[in-house]
């Protein structure tokens, strides 16, 4: 029969290391129902046993989700044995939890971890005596070195087989013991005997979850209340404090009896590191340096390299081996394209002066026709300007027949001529599809929809893995707790945690790993706030949009890009200040009573495992939700009705696509923001696929390549353009990030709230931007400015109002658990 072992212990006690050592790769990771707390299970390698890794807890109180999960698992699932891992260098606080576990009526083995560190300190723990005093089996180990791990597991299995119960020995004051006996006798006689003591103590503590679980009547409660009050009067303290103090006093006496400590001289290495790492002056520079290093290595170095490799190589046209030939090929290609454009500009000019060009243009002209054309157009030269996709000037000057003849002789550069070229997946797939003779729409679906959509997201995987590696490292070595310590003062004013800094920083590169980095924040409230606000920070994909708006409407003014970042930061802070006062976020402030664990060298295995688990969960997302969304957007943007039939559209006919029609339907929504055109709506919709798509869509739809920035300037005022940028920077992020939000929120309603808030906030801010700009530039006083003023007043009210003082000590979310 399978033995079920529950692994319980304090955070930082080495629980994860032990779990990994016990189960190796036979693990499954999931979530406990209804909460974002990770659930891990694994099979023992050496025996038929299932190990459940319970969340790290300090106590079995009813307040945090972790504690509730651990408690209800132990009470309801009744595992065969508890393997309680404790940190040998920190016996008192660790054994405090043990005193509670011993009362549950489940066989228990105490595994003292980090014995090597204890010995190094020169301390000694009398293991046998400790076991005798506590009334349970004790074993020692160093999980990091793998010493004693197998023995602990074997002991746990043996104890489970014997069903040997520990005898709880916590001695409370006489009056308390009397009250406990009374409670057991009166209310708990029909419960299993081994659970009675635990339940009686919880009832004595007035634990609401247990009262509800047992279904006590008012009369029952009043009856025991008399005994509790009596004890409280006698000891001049409340019931909870009486029990906790008694436990700690008991643990103190046990530790004094079983542990000989060497008198400390000097300070420990950990304290010495902390002297610098949390120093009043040096802490911030050190923190900044570490963050810059993490950012530089993952986003700039690995991110830049891998995005190039994956986006251009694997999911692009392909790459040159070691980059040889890349530059030459690019120059050749752009020269080639420019020649074609000049030739086509010349043909346009010829056409305007009444010369027949259609046959020449399509290359189907007979030699006679071509000669006739050249004769007619011989003296024709016209001044023209040619722009690139983002509106940059490529050529300005005359075009003439030479340009036509020149282009005619040119052949498109082939990569293979410039170096060893490795074609990308789309090229290989495209060739294969072509050879199989598949329909164009199917090729489009596979290449532009699936490969391009998922590929652009998978390009982020390498840098995400590096980032997650660093995060796991910072967490495991103990620095993450210090980050929270250093920055708490600043961030909590905005409803965020000191640890929110990391997701925000990472989001300047890409919002997806940024959102996923929020997992290091323990408090669900701070974590949600971080997830909701972190994508306000402009990510790398939004930079082309900022560049386009700055170039096209503000003459490349220096202040546009900083203003985008300023806008993002302001949006985070204002949202934090507003949201923390809303009903959803209200309630008791999340406690900041946190252990600062000793610095230690992390176990590489754990760090890599944590990196992989986070990375893999994202890759799975990219393969499912993001895939479907990409395909849907591609389909609607490339198909439409032309002359009554439903067809695949060419790039020039995108205005007929379903998405364009849908954009036209939505355009009225954006009229108050100044950009109520179907083009702008469609670009915004396509931005959901990837934000860099906003720029290319605008270029294609407005024909920037032919007319330069002038066409954009004709279509929008600069106020509307800034408002357009504002909306696209702040509104719901791309599908990849939306998927990450969905995954990290673990709740439909929170997910919907986040997306709705972001989009609503973006709308309100853009409206104000546009309407205020309009009035300042001589636009009439209208309903728009009234709305803008109302919104501003609303923001001020939300910012300045007093927080609703709802006192709900227990978060709603956790109520279903016990």
């Amino acid at each position: 029969m399978t033995v079920r072992i529950a692994l319980v212990g304090n955070p930082n006690s080495g629980k994860t290391t032990l779990f990994n050592a016990l189960t190796g790769s036979n693990q499954s990771v999931g979530n406990w129902p209804g909460v974002t707390v990770e659930k891990k299970e694994g099979r023992l390698q050496s025996a038929d046993a299932l190990v459940t890794d319970l969340p790290g807890v300090y106590s079995l109180s009813p307040y945090t989700p972790e504690e509730l999960i651990t408690r209800s698992y132990l009470m309801e699932e009744a595992p065969d044995v508890i393997l309680n891992i404790i940190d040998g260098t920190n016996l008192e606080r660790n054994l405090y939890l043990t005193t509670q576990l011993l009362e549950l009526g489940i066989p228990l083995v105490l595994a003292i971890n980090m014995m090597d560190a204890v010995e190094r300190r020169g301390d000694h723990i009398h293991v046998e005596k400790l076991g005798r005093m506590l009334g349970c089996e004790v074993t020692v180990m160093s999980a990091m070195k793998g010493e004693g791990v197998e023995e602990a597991a074997q002991k746990a299995i043996a104890i489970a087989a014997q069903k040997k119960l520990a005898i709880p020995k916590t001695c409370f004051h006489g009056a308390v013991e009397h009250a406990l006996a009374h409670i057991e006798e009166r209310l708990l006689h029909d419960r299993p005997e081994q659970q009675q003591r635990f339940l009686a103590i919880k009832l004595f503590e007035r634990d609401e979850k247990v009262i509800a679980m047992l279904g006590l009547t008012r009369e029952d409660q009043e009856h025991i209340e008399y005994d509790i009050k009596l004890c409280e009067l006698q000891q001049e303290d409340d019931a909870e404090a009486i029990i906790i103090s008694a436990r700690y006093d008991y643990v103190e006496s046990v530790v004094d009896a079983c542990c000989t400590r060497k008198l400390k001289k000097g300070i420990s290495a950990s304290a010495r590191i902390d002297r610098l790492a949390t120093h009043r002056i040096f802490a911030i520079p050190i923190f900044a340096a570490i963050m810059m290093l993490v950012y530089y290595v993952s986003v700039t170095l690995v991110g830049g390299w891998s995005a190039g490799l994956v986006n251009d190589g694997l999911f692009g046209d392909g790459i040159f081996l070691f980059g040889h030939g890349q530059e030459a090929y690019e120059t050749a290609t752009s020269d080639y394209e420019l020649s074609l454009r000049k030739s086509s500009a010349f043909l346009d000019a010829a056409e305007r002066s009444g010369i027949e060009v259609s046959a020449v243009r399509t290359g189907t002209a007979t030699p006679q026709e071509e000669a006739a054309f050249l004769l007619h157009a011989a003296g024709l030269h016209e001044k023209t300007s040619i722009y690139d996709e983002e509106g940059g000037l490529l050529y300005e000057g005359l075009v003439g027949p030479d340009d036509y003849l020149n282009a005619k002789g040119l052949e498109e550069p082939v990569q293979a001529d410039y170096g060893t070229f490795l074609p990308g997946l789309p090229v290989v797939l495209g060739d294969a599809l072509e050879r199989m003779g598949t329909a164009p729409w199917l090729q489009g679906l596979v290449l532009d929809g699936i490969v391009a959509g998922v590929g652009s997201i998978l390009g982020f995987v390498p840098q995400m893995l590096v980032l997650f590696f660093f995060l796991a490292l910072l967490e495991a070595c103990g620095y993450m707790a210090r980050i929270a310590f250093i920055l708490d003062q600043i961030f909590r004013r905005f409803g965020l945690s000191g640890k929110s800094f990391i997701p925000m920083l990472i989001s300047t590169g890409c919002g997806v790993p940024g959102i996923m980095a929020s997992r290091t924040i323990e408090s669900p409230r701070d974590r949600r706030m971080t997830i909701m606000t972190t994508t306000f920070i402009p990510c790398g994909a939004k930079l082309p949009l900022i560049a386009m708006i700055a170039g096209a409407f503000f003459g490349g003014a220096w202040w546009v890009a900083p203003s985008a970042y300023f806008l993002g930061i302001a949006a985070v802070l204002i949202s934090g200040a507003i949201l923390k006062k809303t009903r959803r976020f209200a309630g008791e402030e999340s406690p900041f009573v946190m252990e600062l664990p000793l610095y230690h060298l992390p176990a590489m295995k754990n760090v890599l495992r944590s990196m992989w688990e986070r990375g893999w969960s994202f890759i799975k997302k990219a393969g499912t939700v993001i895939l479907i969304a990409s395909v849907a957007i591609w389909f609607t943007s490339r198909f439409g009705f032309v002359d009554g039939s439903f067809v695949l559209l060419s790039e020039e006919a995108l205005s007929e696509s379903l998405l364009a029609k849908f954009g036209a339907l939505l355009a009225w929504i954006f009229v108050p923001l100044g950009f109520g055109s179907w083009q702008a709506s469609m670009a915004t919709l396509l931005g959901l696929l990837a934000k860099e798509g906003v720029v290319s869509t605008m270029s294609v739809l407005y024909g920037v390549a032919d007319g330069g920035y002038a066409v954009l300037q004709a279509a929008m005022t600069s106020g509307a353009a800034f408002s357009f940028m504002t909306f696209n920077l702040l509104c719901a992020p791309c599908f990849a990030a939306i998927g990450a939000i969905r995954q990290e929120m673990q709740s439909r309603s929170w997910f919907a709230f986040a997306i709705a808030y972001q989009t609503g906030f973006a709308y309100a801010v853009s409206l104000c931007v546009y309407q205020i700009w309009r009035v300042l530039h001589g636009g009439g006083f209208g309903i728009g400015i009234v709305a803008a003023v109302l919104i501003l007043v609303g923001f001020l009210f939300l910012l300045l109002r007093r927080s609703p003082t709802s006192k709900k000590p227990v978060q709603e979310r956790t109520e279903s658990l016990c």
């Binding site: 300090y58 106590s59 109180s61 307040y63 945090t64 260098t89 920190n90 016996l91 008192e92 606080r93 405090y96 303290d237 909870e240 404090a241 906790i244 103090s245 700690y248 006093d249 902390d274 949390t278 120093h279 009043r280 002056i281 802490a283 911030i284 707790a481 310590f485 250093i486 708490d488 003062q489 600043i490 008791e588 406690p591 900041f592 009573v593 946190m594 252990e595 600062l596 664990p597 000793l598 006192k807 000590p809 227990v810």
Partner: protein
């Protein structure tokens, strides 16, 4: 009433009582700040809040507002 908030950095005191109610108070006590426990103020964060304590042989950090609930002698 003298509280932990007033205790200067580098000094120790004994805990007399943890005031208040609810989750934060329980958490403070669960972490070992109980009647009679000895606490030492190790340092202040760079911006003055929170503070770092040594209690029962390990480092614990809490905000000054919460330290104000902890009565000491």
């Amino acid at each position: 009433m003298k509280t932990l908030k007033e205790l200067p950095v580098g000094q120790s005191a004994k805990v007399l009582k943890v005031h208040g109610e609810g989750a934060i108070r329980r958490r403070i006590m669960d972490m070992g700040i109980t009647k009679g426990a000895e606490v030492y103020v190790q340092k202040m964060a760079p911006f003055g809040d929170p503070i770092e304590l040594i209690v029962r042989g390990y480092s614990l950090t809490l905000r000054r507002a919460d330290a104000d609930r902890i009565e000491i002698i």
